[in-house]
């Protein structure tokens, strides 16, 4: 049997991450209690270093390696950059929280790094096998992370729920994969495409069956209705730092999962999955926006907001054009940036023994820390889609892509839901600026890097609204190749 070693270089990001993870593990094991803070810095170095390498890789031509199970293209690199950066921000925001809440440091950082590795694998997967492995690698640490905080029953409940629901979704995905395999005799996306274009007599019903099962698995990860039920409970039950984590980077990975399945592997079934996505997008926007209104727990509210936002993101995919895919990617990135900021503020405001959860806890934030309140204001305005924030351009992008392919009724409905949605975002703004604070003590952020991070985050939302073109073009290019 002839065997030529595959080209390992394209997987450099994954190898870097894994290598550094092992290093962090060893360092953590052999350090005594006092010096364990170093794991934080090592983790940040890993994330940022990998991000730098990823940025330097951007623009290189598309490579497929490991016998067609791994792909590195501009889309994958773009997603990886944002995954790495967003996780880095997550860690910056939650550093104090982790220290104060008796969460085991080393395990926390290790599991986060593993999860990042899984996301990278998923983003670069070009076969259903690696796709599934990536999904599991990034999900398993998340389940564990949620339950990591002491013996709190709420967290453990959330973890169990997430785990069991996730297992069911994985089951869907695997079953779908097996059906597609049955029809096409391959796991490789490349081979599946050629198979489909070749054999006209491939049974469409079977493929549709596989498609629905696989997309159900992917839609679950994104928290899209009707596979969204876990989202509010898990967001609410998780410790704030974990909520911050699961609400951000995994969404990008979930986007990659969905696009790998639909856009790359099964473009032939576009008429089928277009209808599927229209149905779930409408349901998500309706469920998310409407139920969010009555929530007085801010984490739950943002959970429903995420369901709604994922619905908007799908609109880009529904268009079925490279422009639409690009708009969806842009929407996703902007959503993650906003979500990062919103949950970041929540995490920062939580202290030892105090989890910020209620909308009322934001009362009078402006008098307690005006700058933080202002950053939150920018983020909320952007989520509500107020021009010229980034959120506005993200929404315009997906809606425009739909109009371009002559689907007008869907954007109209989406706009109605967006208006309903504006209510609950602006309610938080009102509470922050016009209500009397429950406690008068000013909020002081201890560490400088946290302050810097939230400032960058909030202003990024603002400036991406003023100068959206570069990022939009990057997103468009990712799907044009």
């Amino acid at each position: 049997m002839n065997f030529t070693p595959p080209d390992f270089f394209p997987a450099i990001l994954e190898m870097l991450t894994l290598g550094m993870t092992c290093l962090v593990m060893l360092v953590y094991l052999f350090l005594d209690q006092k010096n364990r803070g170093i794991t934080y810095f090592l983790t940040q170095i890993t994330l940022l270093g990998t991000a730098v390498v990823a940025i330097s890789l951007h623009g290189s031509p598309e490579v497929i390696t490991f016998d067609g199970s791994f792909i590195l293209n501009s889309q994958a690199i773009l997603l990886k950059i944002f995954i790495l950066l967003s996780v880095s921000f997550v860690l910056m925001y939650s550093r104090t929280y982790i220290r104060e809440n008796d969460i085991l440091h080393g395990e926390f950082y290790l599991l986060v790094l593993f999860s990042v590795l899984g996301m990278e694998v998923l983003v670069s997967a070009y076969s259903f096998l690696t796709l599934y492995l990536g999904l599991e690698i990034f999900s398993l640490p998340l389940y564990a992370l949620i339950a990591l905080k002491g013996n709190k029953p709420v967290c453990q409940e959330a973890a169990i729920k997430y785990f069991i629901m996730g297992a069911i979704a994985s089951g869907f995905l695997l079953y779908g994969i097996s059906l597609i395999y049955g029809a096409c005799q391959s796991f490789n996306i490349h081979e599946i495409i050629s198979m489909m274009s070749l054999s006209i007599h491939t049974e469409p019903l079977l493929l549709t069956l596989g498609l629905v099962f696989m997309s159900a698995g992917a839609l679950f990860k994104l928290g899209i209705a009707p596979f969204h039920m876990w989202v509010p409970d898990v967001y609410e039950g998780s410790p704030n730092a974990m909520t911050l984590l699961i609400a951000t980077a995994p969404k990008l990975a979930g986007f990659a999962l969905l696009t790998h399945i639909l856009v790359e592997a099964l473009p032939v079934l576009f008429p089928q999955w277009q209808y599927l996505l229209i149905a779930v997008a409408l349901l998500s926007m309706a469920v998310g926006n409407i139920i969010a209104i009555v929530q007085d727990n801010i984490k739950r509210m943002l959970a429903y907001s995420s369901i709604a936002n994922m619905g908007y993101m799908l609109l880009g995919l529904i268009a079925g054009t490279p422009r639409g895919y690009g708009a969806a990617l842009f929407y996703m990135i902007i959503y993650v940036v906003m979500s990062l900021g919103a949950f970041g503020v929540i995490t920062m405001l939580s202290r030892k023994g105090f989890e910020l959860e209620k909308v009322d806890d934001f009362k009078g934030l402006n008098t307690r820390n005006p700058w933080l309140a202002f950053m939150m204001l920018l983020i909320l305005f952007s989520m509500a889609g107020v021009p010229p924030s980034a959120g506005f351009f993200a929404k315009v992008g997906v809606l425009e892509a739909l109009v371009k392919v002559n689907i007008v009724w869907l954007p109209a409905v989406a706009l109605v839901f967006a208006i309903i949605g504006a209510y609950y975002y602006l309610r938080v703004v009102k509470v922050m600026y016009f209500d009397e604070p429950l406690e008068k003590t000013p909020v002081i952020l201890e560490s400088f890097d946290t302050q810097l991070a939230i400032s960058i985050n909030g202003l990024a939302v603002f400036f991406l609204g003023l100068f959206p073109t570069t990022l939009i073009e990057l997103c468009q290019q990712a799907f044009l190749a």
Binding site: D67, S69, N151, Q185, L206
Partner: protein
Amino acid sequence: MIEKLIFYVFAALLIGSATMVIVSRQSVRAAFFLIVAFCASAVLWMLLSAEFLALLLIFVYVGAVMTLFMFVVMMLNLDQESLQEKFVRYLPFAVLLVALMVGVLVYAMKPGHLGELGLAISPHPSADYSNTKALGLLLYTHYVYAFELAAVILLIAIVAAIGLTHREKSRNKRQRIDAQLAATKADRLQILQLEAEK
């Protein structure tokens, strides 16, 4: 002919025991049925001449995993009755869903759909053919990336398990000075207004 007979017998056994895993009243019994299901599927693998996988299933799952599992189940002593109650209550929905699902699958998957291109059973290999070797060759060359990833999953499982169970704080008793200093009167002392007895 005999192969077909074996297949149908063990396939029926597999489905039957898998059903029993879900519906049986006691978790110990459910675990036993799971072992039966593993054994039955090992036989099915054997029929496909995948001896290595079949034996692996028996050694690893039946021999190691399930034994551990049995210990845990026996020690936990779950409340059987309440689980049972809900099971009956939601049974109609479940039956409906299952029926619907089976209907759809049967409608979509006609036997011809899957077999067309290459599911014909390969010719009997020669005597010196090693199943294990073939698998190994494939695993360490073609699927090396996936193989490594699977190893990572195991590593994650170890780290996660340790993280979830190993709690150094609860085990050794230490004086927590910060908690003592932070304590206030309200934490320790509760003043009750008791009704005067007549």
